[in-house]
């Protein structure tokens, strides 16, 4: 069995902010060459420069995952720079908080264009590149929401349930190419996306935002939110030789959220 290089080259979609950025920093610390793929190219560039100052190989690339040609170009650019791709982490995502009866077709389509279709084509493109060098790892960020009934979060939860399904199919399709595909479901974190979702959620539910956040945190079995660093650590684990026999699986780092 051929082992992938560790550290190698990692591409992170949505790598300029929140969880994606924490993942980029953790992999850089492990001496990976890091490609930050993000629609916010300015943020991506400044984060890549910061990693370079610390001695890491880093690259910022514009990526709009809702556009196929953008995916094509972004991954080709990474490949041109680093000549290979060993790990893909799909963090790019958006949330859609709307009461069930009010979700519009445009909101539904946009959620799926980014979270589901974008992720699928990133997986597909990365798999082609990984196949050229003998294999790799794909880590898709899912969500506890995909297991839950969430009337304000229908489109998001459904888009993430599709991510779990894509992960399973990809695992079988890509096993012969020596590519492992797994997903990771992080619990509630303090990110920009989480904050805007919870603000909208509290507004629709007619409750105070601070109280809403406090009660959602208190209701977690572990009584606290996940830190970005601990989720990034688990992403690194899924890229490490320790998980070479793991594929098509889902890692829940959610403080027991799915249990309640």
């Amino acid at each position: 069995m051929r082992q992938q290089p560790f550290p190698g080259v990692v591409a992170i979609t949505g790598g300029a902010n929140g969880l994606g950025l924490a993942v980029a920093r953790r992999f850089a610390q492990e001496r990976f060459k890091v490609a930050i793929l993000d629609i916010e190219i300015n943020a991506a560039e400044s984060e890549a420069s910061a990693l370079k100052i610390n001695g890491a190989g880093a690259l910022a690339v514009y990526l709009d995952v809702s556009k196929l040609e953008s995916i094509e170009q972004a991954f080709d650019r990474c490949h041109e720079e680093f000549s290979r791709l060993d790990v893909l982490v799909c963090c790019a995502g958006l949330s859609c908080v709307k009461p069930f009866l009010e979700v519009s077709a445009a909101e539904w389509d946009q959620t799926f264009a980014v979270n589901t279709r974008g992720l699928f084509f990133c997986n597909q493109k990365a798999a082609k590149l990984m196949g050229e060098t003998g294999g790799g790892r794909i880590i898709n960020i899912s969500s506890p929401a995909s297991y839950l009934g969430l009337p304000f979060y229908t489109a998001y939860a459904a888009s993430k349930a599709a991510v779990d399904s894509i992960t399973r199919s990809a695992a079988i399709a890509l096993a012969p190419s020596n590519i492992r595909v797994n997903s990771l479901a992080p619990g509630r974190m303090d990110t920009r996306m989480q904050e805007s979702s919870e603000r909208a959620w509290a507004r629709y539910a007619g409750v105070d935002y601070e109280e809403f956040v406090e009660s959602r945190t208190r209701s977690l079995p572990l009584k606290r939110r996940a830190t970005l660093e601990e989720i990034a650590e688990a992403v690194l684990f899924l890229a490490s030789p320790a998980t070479d026999y793991m594929t098509g699986s889902r890692l829940n780092i959610s403080g027991g959220l799915e249990l309640s």
């Binding site: 399973r168 695992a171 572990l222 688990a234 684990f237 320790a242 070479d244 793991m246 594929t247 098509g248």
Partner: protein, 261 residues
């Protein structure tokens, strides 16, 4: 170099089996003090782990998971010696593959006694010790891990007693995780696939039909090594998994992805 599990005390039931030994070696390499619980210590195991026994990285305590007082005494020995129990791995298990119509009540009960009741007793006794100790700076008093199986969610021919026991362990773990979350105890399951160990290893070596079935059943095309199970246990023992509770870590080469009809 200080390991990720430096000076953590970890007890593992079924410690002398293939998964138990590989796990103990892996954990002790990362700095843990590992205690093997098992019915006996075979001479071959003593020889294989001589280095670790000599250095004190691994020790052995006799324990039968179906015997409450013996198990209680074994945990007391560990806590007396190390003053702490950070992780327990309820790993002892037996497999008996039999056609449903041919399972005797005695065989059925024996499998459930070891795999389910034994896991329950191990977890309950360990938790009572853990609840008495001071939490770490991250608020954790202890971790309870179970060896589940990919078949806990999926039927496999002639596996009724084993699968029922593993499926029971899964709900035991989730219920415990929920009840004990507020007390600093994490509970998780590692679900391996078809491991080249114990009974599977024997059947693999003698039954060509089994070999064919295995080849078709595993997307990664090869049986699992005990070392790959050990790698995953090292993660679940470490603080890298502190935000996980009530979760199942499936490391099965994709075996559970394949639909059988």
């Amino acid at each position: 170099m200080l390991g990720r599990l430096q000076d953590k005390t970890i007890a593992i039931t079924g410690g002398c089996g293939d998964i138990g030994r590989a796990t103990a070696v892996r954990l002790s390499k990362e700095g843990a003090k590992v205690v093997l619980f098992d019915l006996d210590l075979p001479a071959a195991v003593k020889l294989e782990l001589k280095g670790q026994f000599d250095s004190g990285g691994i020790t052995y305590v006799r324990a039968d998971v179906t015997n409450h007082s013996e198990l209680q005494a074994a945990f007391e020995t560990v806590v007396d010696k190390f003053q702490r129990l950070d992780v327990v791995i309820a790993n002892a298990g037996i497999v008996r593959n039999q056609k449903f119509l041919e399972i005797s009540l005695r065989d059925w009960q024996r499998t459930l006694d070891v795999n389910l009741n034994g896991a329950f007793l191990t977890a309950q006794i360990a938790c009572r010790f853990m609840l008495k100790q001071e939490p770490t700076n991250k608020g954790i008093r202890g971790k309870v891990l179970f060896t589940g199986s990919w078949v806990q969610d999926m039927p496999w021919p002639e596996g009724a007693s084993y699968i029922t026991s593993k499926s029971g362990v899964k709900m035991l773990a989730k219920t415990m995780a929920q009840e004990l979350a507020g007390f600093g105890i994490r509970v998780n399951i590692l679900a391996p696939g078809i491991v080249m160990a114990g009974l599977s290893k024997k059947i693999y070596e003698t039954d060509s039909r089994f070999r064919e079935r295995v080849g078709e059943a595993i997307p990664l095309g090869e049986m699992q090594t005990a070392e790959s199970v050990a790698d995953a246990f090292a993660f679940l023992c470490s603080s890298d998994s502190d935000y996980m509770t009530g979760a199942v870590l499936v490391v099965d080469g994709g075996a559970s992805l394949v639909r059988r009809t």
